[in-house]
Amino acid sequence: MAAPVKVYGPPLSTAVSRVLACLLEKDVPFQLLPVNMAKGEHKKPDYLNIQPFGQVPAFQDESITLFESRAISRYICDKYANQGNKRLYGTNPLEKASIDQWLEAEGQNFNPPSSILVFQLAFAPRMKIKQDENLIKQNEAKLAKVLDVYDKRLEESRYLAGDDFTLADLSHLPNGQYLVNATDRGELFTSRKNVERWWGEISSKESWKKVVEMQKSPSPKSA
């Protein structure tokens, strides 16, 4: 029996949680390994060997080491295509193309402004860092435009790429979770009828609920 895959990093990290959600959707056993960032473990040579930017997550599966959460997720879906949620990354090239399109939309259009908002509104106060009001305003406006496009799309389509919940939707969960639950800007989602409906569906997935539990747990180890 194959050894569980290894994921390095804390579940509170949005990028780590993206990978965890994917592993849970695909029923892939994993071991979660802590990286002591307070002690600078992520900048030490041993860690930089597996993640050259000194960030989380890093991932190991038998002899392969990967980083970048979206690349890790795609690999998991390709390698474990026949188990768990088989429609997560499509079952044919046309489905895959549509999923890739919305995965790129997430990575290029949704992620930058939402990441900045999550940091400014949810993390900066906890870290006693001063918030940048201008940055918040700018990125709220950017994110609003993106969500307008999403709202139109989700009027005609149950999920972003089509009728099925896919990696494209999943990729939005980490930042969405913080925005809706840890900031006062949740109405960016809830004021848009179709986005609200979609958010309700994707955030109630069992796999995501498990990830949120892991984020709340003091020392989550594996699944």
Binding site: F53, I64, L66, R70, A71
Partner: protein, 210 residues
């Protein structure tokens, strides 16, 4: 014609798609979209984004999704850009595809806009931002230097989509003072010269008045 690309040939994203089509030796029709007139906002299909792509009934946006589709759908034509057979090798290419999308482009695209595009349009370059972006790019290029010391191309032994995605922005940045950041890293520089010298890229440039 089955394959159509809608966009502006000066846009790095459109160039990414055109380069991919050139590497794969695929015939296509290019439909020029004038960003200045807001033309891209008019038609429902291409209003989301440019470049937009059609292959028969398939419609796609996001340049990196388009190139991925082309690389897989036409895997047997022209230059191989992804690895269909070896899951591990494909995964490594996948990592560097994300590094370009998430890290290189974030700094590189904005730098290109500040230093190259703004002056052309008569807008003021934000020098403070340029300094910040150069620092960001330096971090990325340091990682690239290490990577390219052990691997001929970013994704492995062969030129792949991961390298291809960099070409338009690298091309732009080498026309500016930022060229120094690339030149002073020998493996990065060798890689730049290699990817810019490819015949497919020269073909794309011939179609661009810049």
């Amino acid at each position: 014609m089955a394959i159509k690309v809608h966009g502006n040939p000066l846009s790095p994203a459109a160039q990414r798609v055109l380069l991919c089509l050139a590497e794969k030796d695929l015939e296509h029709e290019f439909v020029y979209v004038d960003l200045a007139t807001g033309q891209q906002k008019k038609e429902p299909f291409i209003s989301i984004n440019v470049p937009a792509f059609e292959d028969g009934d398939l419609k796609l946006f996001e340049s990196r999704a388009i190139t991925k589709y082309i690389a897989h759908a036409y895997a047997d034509k022209g230059t191989p850009l992804i690895n269909h057979e070896d899951l591990k090798k494909m995964a490594i290419i996948g990592v560097w595809l994300e590094v370009e999308a998430q890290r290189f482009d974030a700094a590189g695209h904005k730098l290109s806009f500040e230093i190259l595009v703004k002056p052309i349009k008569g807008w003021t370059t934000d020098e403070a931002l340029v300094e910040q972006l150069q620092a960001q790019l330096t971090t990325v290029l340091d990682v690239y230097e290490k990577r390219l010391a052990q691997s001929k191309y970013l994704g492995g032994d062969n030129f792949s989509l991961a390298d291809l995605h960099h070409v338009p922005i690298v091309n732009n940045l080498l026309k500016t003072k930022v060229k120094a950041l690339f030149e002073e890293r020998p493996h990065v520089w060798a890689w730049c010269e290699d990817i810019l010298a490819r015949p497919a890229w020269k073909k794309v440039l011939e179609g661009v008045k810049f």
